[in-house]
Amino acid sequence: MLQGGYTGKILRVDLSRKEAHTEELSPEFAKGYIGGAGFGIKTLYDEVPAGADPLGPDNKLIFASGPLSGSDTPCASRMAVTSKSPLTGAVGMATTGGFFPAELKFAGYDALIVEGTAASPMYVTINDGDVQFRDAAGLWGTHTSDCQQMIKDSLKDQGYRIACIGPAGENLSRLACIINERRAAGRKGLGAVMGSKNLKAIAVRGHGEIAVADPDAYKTARSSFREHMRESPVLYSAFAKIGTPMVVDVLGAMGMLAAKNWQATGEFVPVDELGTEAGKAVTVGRNPCQGCPVACSQLKLARNAPYTGIMAEGPEFESLYSLGTQCGVDNMDAIIAADRLCDELGLDTMSAGVTIGFAMELSERGALSAIDSGDLDISFGNDRAMMALLEKMAYRDGIGDLLADGVKEAAERIGGDAAYYAMHVKGLELPAYDVRGAKAHGLNYATSYTGADHNRGYAFQEIFGIPIPKEVDRFALEGKGELCKWNQDMRTATCDCPTMCAFLLDMAVPAVAAENAAALLTSLTGVSFTAEEVFQVGERVNNLARAFNAREGFSRKDDTLPDRLMNEPLLVGGSKGHHIPQEDLDLMLDDYYTARGWDVATGTPTRAKLEELGLASVADDLGV
């Protein structure tokens, strides 16, 4: 029985019929998938048929908080937003924090499933059990912060928490994200799915509380977690003050901070301009997620023309890459402004920046000469052109229409050898880590179920030298298949499903992540979990996501890396001489599929593995 943590209720909303009803969450489901990404991917697999148009009425959008979300476990207000990605055609799952995830729980729901398509722009309000479908004609076209404020004003309640899209989502840019407060369920084009459903926003207000199954055991588990947080050599002492931008310094020194569309890694390394010290100088405040004592998230203010007075929550490390080094931009104020602009337009900072860097390289190579770019000088380092392109992409204006769907689509439309310069895996643009210097991290880009996604199997052993489960040589190939699997399953099991901020995994509980999650989940929910069972949920969810992708036609051939990473060794910096040629990738893939118990030739889960995970019916579906 579900005694705590979970609300036990799923809200299903049909936009076509303007109907909403609740469903029960079963203890068996909780035990098998925990929640969050587990709930989202299971629902996606069961309910979105193979071949469904990601921007059509058959696709669904699933917002799922985990059982820990809304409880007083620190750093747990997170949710997974899951859909079939219009950017990749694969599973699109992104997590976001802030206050919305906990508020959904306070309103009485573990998850919200959105289906159908509204006939005209609409927003949905959820106030505990009261669900209303409202006309969004007056909101359509607004920036995300104005949209959120207008909804609060019109409902006469500033306590609503709102997830919405900006112009990018309305215009079906496949780089559009969903913004709640100033946070994003980024990447994979989830904002375009919302736009395709004519859904501008979801506003939620809750007044409930999260029950606790075993208060004494929960108190012990929570104290132990907080103790691990306090003992961390970095969490409070550095990360709370500097946040993610510290990774600029670290990756810069390791020769892994990708730059200028991955041509200038190790060469263009603006640590003085964009690193830790530069970040401190522009930080004016902090904005923690609900229930977070760390508060890594920082408000930064631009103080120099032409960006004077523009403030952003961020830029986080990844945006310092995508809107910074990737575009050859080392002007912090410009990146703050671009970060804010992306948030307002509802455009994913990472994919948008990588796409602009791609355009900059093509432009410098003369490959865009046939395309009308107006009077824009699209060259590396031109921050004004970057700002202009972000606007154009969100509104599909001129060359912006070409770039609005990411590098893979743009390269296909441009033709010639443009695909060589398109930095993506499965259509998802590459994150900041130049994985020529970190092989397990690269293998994760190649195999993650969402495409090139650092968040689905972050190799903190290689990036931060944390020797858990063991110390590794970041340049070596041996053992990286097993390590990649461990990272993917552990991240899914202990962060994406329960739900928990992933920064705590590597900085607070790397050695005991599954034990920590098991103790918290068991005492909070009354469903008993061992550490092994928690970890196995991670494996189950990764297998189910892989099965979804296999059903859509993905296989080993799609587990690849951009040609540049396979053909061009790094020329300078701390990872000089390294790359990932096809034979090295093949060797790691063989190891990875073997570690996963998948068919090595196709990369498809085997019947034996699926049965071991209780997924026999999935094996039937796949015909394996």
Partner: protein, 95 residues
């Protein structure tokens, strides 16, 4: 022989630079490089790098030789060669 010693963040502030060139006798080890870095930092800053009790590296530091964590080599006893690069990174996370 010449060794490049590098570090980041607050350790770079203490060192006065993110990178220094060091002259060391042949046969020097990673530990010797760290001791020289600590000398350059001055007495106040030494504990950021070395434990006061035995002048061995603080356990939470990440130390790399030519990009590889020294844990997969011979640890601080690893002998360095002319032209090698030692990188010391304080605990970090996020991203």
């Amino acid at each position: 022989m010449r060794i490049t010693a590098r570090t980041v963040m607050h350790l770079a502030s203490l060192l006065g630079s993110r990178e220094v060139e060091l002259e060391l006798p042949a046969g020097s080890r990673v530990l010797d490089v760290l001791v020289r870095m600590a000398d350059l930092m001055g007495d106040q800053a030494v504990p950021a790098l070395l434990r006061p009790e035995d002048r061995r590296p603080q356990g939470h530091l990440r130390i790399m030789l030519n990009g590889r964590d020294i844990g997969v080599l011979e640890g601080v006893e690893t002998v360095v060669q002319d032209g090698d690069e030692v990188l010391v990174v304080p605990p970090a996370g996020g991203g």
